[in-house]
Each structure stands twice: as C-alpha cells, then as structure tokens.
C-alpha cells in the first residue's frame, strides 16, 4: 500500500518515520523551497561589531528585511529564513481580514523558523480527546528523544511542561535571567499562591552532540538560524528519510486531493516550470499545516463558503528591565531562544493558564525596539543601546478558546481568513499585564512602560483545531486517527486535528499525535498486506 505524505514539517516527518521504518512505500511531497543552515559561525555580538559584510545576513538581497519590516517578528524578516515563508499566501490565494497569515511550503515547514519551545498537553488538557492517553505518552517519549530537548525536571514549571524522558541539561542562563530565577526561587511559595509559576524553559535544542548535530554553543544567532544545527528542524529528519530506498520525494505545490475508486489522487504543479503532476496512492497523510490541510479538505469536500473555526493562541509581547543590571554589556555567548518560562492563572479566562517565555535581548538587535520608543530616533538609539543589556524580552499566550477566527474557501478557490481581538482577550491581557507588573517588581525588575503590546490575530502562528478529533465526529470533525467520515485512508496529522489548544507550545503535541497516527497506519497497512498475501 502506497502512502503519500503531504508536507514535510514536524507533523509530516513524524508520521512518515514509522511508515518508512516499517519498510512501507512512502511518497513525500512538499513545496520544495529549501532553507539552508545559517552560515554565521561567530557569536552574534562579535559578528555585528566586526563583520563588514553583515548587511547580507541582516538586510539580505533586494533589501529583504526592509521590504518586510512590517511583518512583525525578527524571523519573518530574517533573509536566511526567507524561503521558509516564500510562496505560501500566493499558493493558497489567501486573503485576510484582520488575520496575519504565516505558513510554509518549504522542506521542513515552519520548523525552519521554530522558536523550539516544547511542552506536553496534560491529561486535563486532552480530556476531551478521543485518543488513548498511553499511546500519546509513548509517542511524546519517542519524539522527545528523537528531536532532543533540554530543560530541568524538578522545577516550578514541571507540572506545566509535563514529564519528558532524557532531558538534556539546559544551556547557561544569562545574568539577567539568572537574577530573575534566583529571586523567583526565593519567593516560590508567594508566587505559587498568586498562581504564578516561573522556571527554566524547555526547548528542542540539543546541548549534547548527536549524529549530524552539534551541541548549542551559545552564539546567540538563534533568531536568524543555527549554524550548528542545535535547534531541531524537521528537515534533519527529512534528510534521513530521503536516503531510504522505500521513500520517493516530489517537490510539488499541491492544489487538490481527490477520492478515486482505488484510493486518492493528489494533484499539483512541480516547482520547476509549474508542470501539472498527479500522484496516485492508497493512503494520504495530510500534514500541510493547519491552514494548508484545511484548505485541501475544504476543496476535496467542495465546501465553498463553509466557515470553520480556527483556534490560535492570542499573543502579547513586553520587555522587563532589571535596574540593578544597568550599565552592563551583552555577553558574547548567550542563548537567544527562551531562557525562562512563566505560567499565570487568570481570572479573566476559565480555559487554563496563560503561558509565556522570557528571552535574552542578545541577538535581537536594536531595530525591533526602536518603533516602540516614544522618543526621537536618535535619543531612542542612545537609550536602548544602554538599556538593552539590562532587559529581558517576554511574550505570553492565552488559551485558544479565547480566540475568534475563521477560515473558509471562497467560490473562486481562494482561501479567506478572518480574525478579531475579543473582549475576553483584552480583559485577560489587561489582567496579565497587572500581574506581570506586580510580580516582576517582587523579582527586582520592572515591566517597561508602554512595552506591553497585543499582537494581532494570527501572529502567534499557533494555528489549530479546524478539523478536531472527536469521539463522535460530526461533519468536518475527525476520528482518533485524524480521518474524516467518508474519507477512509486519508489521515490529517497536523495541528488541524488538535481538539483543544492550551496557551503553551503545541508543536511537540502535533508531532506526538502524528507519530501515534503514523504507527496506527503502519498496523493498518501491514494487516492489509498480510490479508492480501493470505
């Protein structure tokens, strides 16, 4: 039985690996855009101080970073990550109403620009899911070991992140994060009483060498890519998959999936010259990302105009200043992804706590800060270059149930997304801001005035639950193996099938769920082959 896997991001490779390891024939398909490893080997600060050709890295060809200045996060304007985001909106002919759409057609998908934060969903958070919890936990274990995760187990955030076997030691904290963590440890009981947890972050970044990947060497270039491959990206697993004899790969912009008498037909156009291509398969694993998979399913069911609810984790960003650290310099060696994580119980939402991370400002540069300063540009430059080493940047997310977005396929085949900032979100963020401000004061820091800003819908890129798994699935709902009614053998394995979306990072859960569904598909294929032989 031939299985075609559409999408080679974290979900696609996680579902493909068990199939390939079982020796089953697999066709892997993605949009074909390639993201290379970062070619900067110097530490960020040193590189910026000394390299005369750094405009190539930070501005890029054809003024890429400047043309994308309005795009929001640093990653979306990092020239080295341009091909991660290229062509997605055009491919799906997406229009947006208040929704900032981010997607990828690249090999490895959005993991090429991943913040690498990982967490497991708790029993409570998956209570409504139709999945066998034991199966899901075994998949969490396998994925965690495969991608390599660092963190500490005995920590106030332990109950938020959940058990993860084989955690690697975390990288060294920078002085600001260490100062906050030490103060938080001294006041742990107080914080706990306030429903505020603070501890070490967990990231899919290796601190021990493994095959083909080097341990994190604290170069602080993480936001532009990683030269040592310490930050996990699905393209690393894809490289292994492509070496296997039972794997075929096609760079293909998939435009439709159709049901045939014997299975499925996947249509699209190849990257080279847009030649139409057709692939026939018995099974389809749909891992094109929540948006891509939903678009293909709406097209398959010819559900034009049908609006599906899209969950996102509403996001806000802020900065905190540690007055005691004023006057210091950035360290040459630092870790630019999340160093600390926080979890805050909020009265404004009953859907679970808010979740956030604190980052070193090393590796962020000054351009990102300048737009938030009320002063003139020159004074802002002087001020921020002085304050930045004494700051930590933070983000925080609300549970997906507080979001209000939808996705639909227009009669002309284009995709339309709309999103709104709700009253619940505004109230929850206002409460969060108050709580952060109060807690940070206790920890010897101040929330920088005017730094707290709510990002628009979609900017969090935590998209999920358009085709959720249910015990008794209705229309546009899936069973425990990501199958829609009437479409046996078509398994959706990405964020689209998550049945809930807590505020914490969801990629590890998408991968574990894809691994679980991939394994069930192996059993199904082997049983069918055995039956055919008998």
């Amino acid at each position: 039985m031939v299985t075609v896997v559409i999408g080679t991001g974290p979900a696609g490779v996680s579902a493909a690996l068990p199939l390939v390891e079982a020796g089953l024939p697999v066709i892997l398909v993605d949009g074909g855009y390639k993201v290379a490893d970062l070619d900067v080997t110097q530490p960020y600060e040193q590189f910026r101080r000394t390299n005369v050709d750094q405009a190539f890295t930070f501005i890029g060809p054809a003024s890429y970073a400047i043309r994308n200045a309005e795009m929001g996060g640093l990653k979306s304007r990092a020239p080295g990550l341009a091909s991660c985001f290229a062509g997605f909106q055009e491919h799906y002919r997406a229009t947006n109403d208040g929704f900032h759409l981010v997607g990828s057609l690249s090999s490895g998908g959005l993991s090429n620009a991943w913040g690498a934060g990982v967490a497991t969903f708790s029993d409570l958070e998956t209570a409504d899911w139709p999945v066998d919890r034991g199966e899901l936990e075994r998949s969490y274990d396998r994925v965690t070991r495969r991608i390599g995760v660092h963190g500490v187990q005995q920590d106030p955030m332990d109950s938020v992140f959940g058990d993860m076997p084989g955690l690697q030691p975390p990288p060294r904290l920078n002085a600001n994060a260490r100062y906050i963590l030490e103060n938080a440890e001294r006041q742990a009981t107080d914080l706990e009483r306030d429903g505020f947890r603070l501890g070490r972050a967990r990231n899919a970044v290796i601190t021990r060498e493994t095959a083909g990947r080097r341990a994190c060497n604290l170069k602080a270039t993480c936001l532009y890519g990683c030269a040592s491959r310490s930050i996990y990206a699905a393209r690393f697993d894809l490289e292994w998959l492509l070496k296997q004899p039972n794997v075929t790969y096609r760079a293909l912009g998939v435009t439709s999936v159709e049901r045939t008498a014997s299975g499925y037909q996947v249509r699209g156009h190849s990257g080279d010259g847009y030649a139409p291509v057709r692939i026939e398969a018995d099974n389809v694993v749909l891992a094109a990302g929540t948006i891509g998979s939903t678009a293909l399913i709406l097209g398959l069911k010819k559900a034009f105009g049908k609006k599906l609810r899209l969950l996102t984790a509403p996001q806000a960003a802020y900065a905190i200043l540690l007055p005691r650290r004023l006057g210091q310099l950035h360290s040459d060696h630092d870790f630019a992804l999340a160093q600390l994580s926080i979890s805050v119980e909020l009265d404004a939402t009953r859907h679970g706590p808010a979740f956030g991370n604190l980052f070193s400002t090393s590796g962020m540069g000054l351009t990102g800060f300048i737009h938030r300063s009320p002063l003139g540009r020159v004074a802002s430059l002087r001020l921020i270059s002085l304050l930045s080493p004494a700051m930590l940047a933070g983000n925080c997310y609300l549970p997906g149930e507080t979001s209000d977005n939808d996705i639909c396929l227009l009669p002309d085949g284009g995709l339309h997304l709309s999103g709104r900032i709700t009253k619940t979100q505004i109230e929850a963020f206002a409460e969060l801001k108050r709580r952060l401000s109060r807690t940070m004061r206790k920890l010897g820091a101040v929330l920088v005035p005017a730094s707290f800003s709510i990002a628009g819908p979609g900017r969090d890129v935590h998209y999920a639950a358009t085709l959720p798994m249910r015990r008794n699935p209705g229309e546009f709902e899936t069973n425990e193996y990501g199958e829609l009614a009437g479409l046996p053998g078509l398994h959706i394995v990405d964020g689209a099938v998550l049945a809930s979306l807590p505020a914490k990072a969801h990629t590890l859960t998408i991968m574990a769920n894809a691994d679980r569904i991939g394994r069930s598909l192996v059993k199904k294929c082997l049983t069918a082959e055995l039956a055919a032989v008998v």
Binding site: R48, A62, S63, Q328, T367, G376, R377, V378, A379, R382
Partner: protein, 152 residues
Amino acid sequence: MGIFKMTSEYESGDRPDLAHEGRAMLSLFLGRPPSGCSVDEYIDAIGSVSDGRSLSLPRWALTPVVLTLFQGPILLRRDLMRAVRRRMDIAFQIGETEPAPSRYFRTRSVNFLSAALTIILIGAAEAFRMVCSVTVGSVLARLVTSRSASSW
C-alpha cells in the same frame, strides 16, 4: 509632464541626491560618516520600497543637526514627515549593519550611577531637542516645505 520614473538600474540623475540623503540619514545614527556600502544599501532600499527618488530636501536640510529637528513633533507636511520618518527607520536598520565603532555598540560597561546619569542626560537632551524642533525647526520646516513642494 515633468514626472520621471526612476529605472531599476538607477540610471536616473536622482542617484547623487539619494546618495547625499543616505549619507546624512546614516550619519545621524552612526555619529560618523557611513561606508559607501551602506549608502548603496540605502539607495537600493529606497528603490525597493518606493519609486527610488530622493526626498528633494534642500542640501542644507540634509545634515544630521537639521534632520534631528525633523524627528518630531510633527513639523513638516504630513506626507513629507511620514516619508522622512520611514527613511530614517530604513537608515536606522542599515546603520545597525555597520561594524563598530558606532552609537549602536557600547564597548565598555559602566556602573549604575553613570548609567542612570546617562539616562537623565539623554532625557534632558531630548527635551531640548523637542523645544528646538518646535521653535527653530518650525521655521526651517517652512523653508523645506516651500522648497520641496513642487517636487514632492
């Protein structure tokens, strides 16, 4: 009609003006003359986000001191002000890619008191700049606006 679209090869006679503008904008942030590469980067950037023409500000306005006054409060005509600010942001971003020494990189740590004093001085200088913007700047802005009205 007197309106000429700049070609992508920068064959237009506007390039020297744009280079002059870029040098002034970049010097504002770097605190020293920029490298030729940064000026070229500025010209390319303006070409990629707009029609690639200079702001047509008079030469005397393209000095860091006068540009400092034009950072605001709003003095210039609204559309011109928006264009000046956008170009300042572009220059800021390009300036950051020049290696040290520049205002972007501090090379020595200082103690808390020195840092606090520096913040106070930055605040005071900014207040003084804003007063100058409103008084001297408004006179200069009128001259700039009348001079550039026909071309902007």
